[in-house]
């Protein structure tokens, strides 16, 4: 694995800007990989051994993805929408897993670790670089039971929705009132189809 500064530079470039979240994400990913015994997670064979669960969709998540190489499309990055600056690093081979949470107290302590900087954002940026791991993070060893339908690799399960006919992969269907349904048909959609007139206006 590259050193911290190299990873931070690359991560900021990939993300689009350098921010405190990038620092937290890069450090979290480096610590997570170290704890589960992976030092080259972006390369084979280790790329096949890692799954990361992120619990927030903010800057740090991009940094974690950059450092570890995990990706949604490769099913090695899992998004659990908890709104918590936390991630769990799982070594599929050994079963070792650690959940790392960015401490809220680290925000208040940033000035202690960047005493010469007045600007709050720059203070956090620098302070997060200098803080010891146990100030920046709380770490908990955990067990993550990654079910077969969440594993990387070819899709093993697929079934057609009895309502709309969509093909539902990876056990995401719901058996509801004697019918196998996709989640939108079972639980409702996050979108609302436009009225025909409105559709025309956009077109």
């Amino acid at each position: 694995m590259d050193d911290f500064n190299t990873l931070l530079e690359g991560s900021a470039r990939a993300h689009g800007h350098l921010c405190p979240g990038q620092v937290v994400g890069v450090r979290m990913a480096m610590l997570g990989c170290r704890l589960i015994g992976l030092d080259t997670p972006r390369r084979l064979p280790q790329i096949k051994k890692l799954i990361v669960y992120v619990e927030i969709d903010r800057c740090a998540t991009d940094a974690i993805s950059y450092v570890t190489g995990v990706k949604l499309g490769r099913r090695s990055l899992k998004f659990v929408d908890n709104g918590i600056m936390a991630a769990t690093f799982v070594n599929l081979e050994s079963g070792k897993a650690f959940r790392i949470v960015s401490t809220e107290s680290s925000r208040d302590l940033a000035h202690v670790y960047a005493p010469d900087i007045d600007d709050v954002r720059l203070q956090q940026l620098d302070g997060y670089k200098n803080m010891p791991d146990d100030v920046l993070f709380s770490v908990m060893p955990v067990w993550v039971d990654v079910p077969v339908h969440d594993m990387p690799g070819p899709s093993r399960f697929k079934v057609r929705c009895d309502e709309c006919g969509a093909m539902v992969r990876d056990k995401k269907e719901v058996f509801l009132n004697e019918r196998v349904l996709c989640r939108p048909c079972a639980h409702g959609t996050y979108f609302r189809p436009l009225e025909p007139g409105a559709r025309l206006k956009i077109a």
């Binding site: 079910p147 077969v148 339908h149 399960f157 719901v174 058996f175 009132n177 079972a186």
Partner: protein, 356 residues
């Protein structure tokens, strides 16, 4: 003799070697370690390369010999076989772990709901030599991630033909395991009884019903207290039926007293079916009616005193959208007796685990 005649055949593909001579070879299967009261699990994993220092430990585990594998084209290792078995058994709402342990895979609920098992097909599956699957009871509520069954190939090596037979049966009878998501969400409650209506005694049913519904993600939209007047009860049932109601629950007025008018009121409301009486204690005077597909449930007074009654047995099935009839209520007979234990362990007890 509990060993099947098939099991003895599978020495083909395996060579027995002394454990002292196994250094450098790879284990053909997980080696289980049992420390009574402390640990049971794989001490060595399949594929582990045996080292000098492992020999003593293996001997302490009682191993004097190990198998090396030389599988023929029509032979399947237990770890590969069990993935095929689990895939065929797991219907909607069922998933399983990413890797077998000691040759087993555990089927789990992918989401919270009602476990459904095609029990006849499961028995037929288990009649095929060299495969097995053991499960929880049918029709029990399960939570997301809960283990509901375990399956495996019994011998270390299974013939392709036998495995195919088991997989074909499971696919033909699919789903053998599934989880029904809870479908009904909105309940309305009618509390009957002159004594409650007139304020002589305080109602306790509402809180009980609310809690029991909430456990399955359903909620109580409205509660009405009524005297023992069949016309008023009928009118309220009609009004509830016309509203956004998935289920009507009534409490009280279910026994044989002359003042008990609830079921007369429900009948007067114009229901399609009405079943009175169930083979469950507590809960003999339970009533289940349907207006269309909407259930109208009558909880007898035992629901106030007993922690678990017939209501707890039928509620998850009704919320999962199942239409129950008098035959279903009669099927509760075996396993329908609450033993009234000093400390209630339901659902980890025989109550409601119907045997017929």
């Amino acid at each position: 003799m509990c060993q099947s005649h098939h099991a003895r055949r599978y020495h083909g593909g395996m060579t027995k070697i002394n454990v002292e001579e196994a250094v450098g070879t790879r284990l053909a299967h997980d080696i289980t370690e049992i420390r009574p009261g402390e640990f049971k699990g794989p001490s060595f994993r399949r594929g582990h390369k045996v080292e000098e220092q492992d020999v003593c430990r293996l001997m302490r585990l009682g191993k004097r010999h190990l198998y090396t594998l030389d599988l023929k084209a029509d032979q399947i290792h237990e770890d590969d076989a069990v993935v095929e078995l689990a895939t065929a058994l797991a219907g909607p709402g069922i998933t399983f772990g990413r890797a077998p342990s000691e040759g087993k895979l555990q089927l789990q609920a992918a989401y919270t709901g009602l476990l459904k098992i095609n029990t006849q097909a499961l028995v037929a599956f288990n009649l095929i030599s060299d495969v097995m699957c053991a499960a929880m009871h049918d029709n029990v509520p399960v939570s997301q991630g809960q283990i509901v069954a375990g399956t495996r190939a019994i011998p270390l090596v299974i013939e392709r033909q036998v495995l195919n037979e088991a997989v074909a049966l499971a696919r033909k009878q699919a789903p053998i395991f599934s989880v029904k998501a809870y479908h009904l969400k909105n309940a309305r409650l009618v509390i009957t009884g002159n004594e409650v209506y007139e304020g002589l005694i305080e109602d306790r049913f509402e809180a009980i019903v609310k809690d029991k519904l909430a456990a399955f993600g359903a909620s109580l939209r409205e509660t009405v207290m009524l005297p023992d007047d069949p016309e008023l009860i009928a009118n309220t049932v009609r009004r509830f039926s016309a509203a956004d109601t998935d289920m009507i629950i009534t409490t009280g007025g279910m026994s044989v007293d002359p003042d008990d008018m609830t079921r007369h009121g429900i009948r007067r409301a114009g229901v399609d079916t009405l079943h009175y009486g169930a083979a469950v204690l507590p809960g003999a005077m339970f009533q289940l009616a349907y207006k269309g597909t909407m259930p109208i449930v009558g909880i007898p007074a035992c629901g106030l005193y007993h922690q678990i009654t017939i209501f707890d047995l039928v509620l998850p099935r009704l919320l999962a959208g199942e239409i129950l009839d008098n035959r279903d209520l009669a099927r509760f007979a075996v396993g329908g007796l609450c033993l009234d234990c000093p400390t209630c362990r339901y659902p980890a007890c025989p109550m409601g685990k119907t045997g017929c």
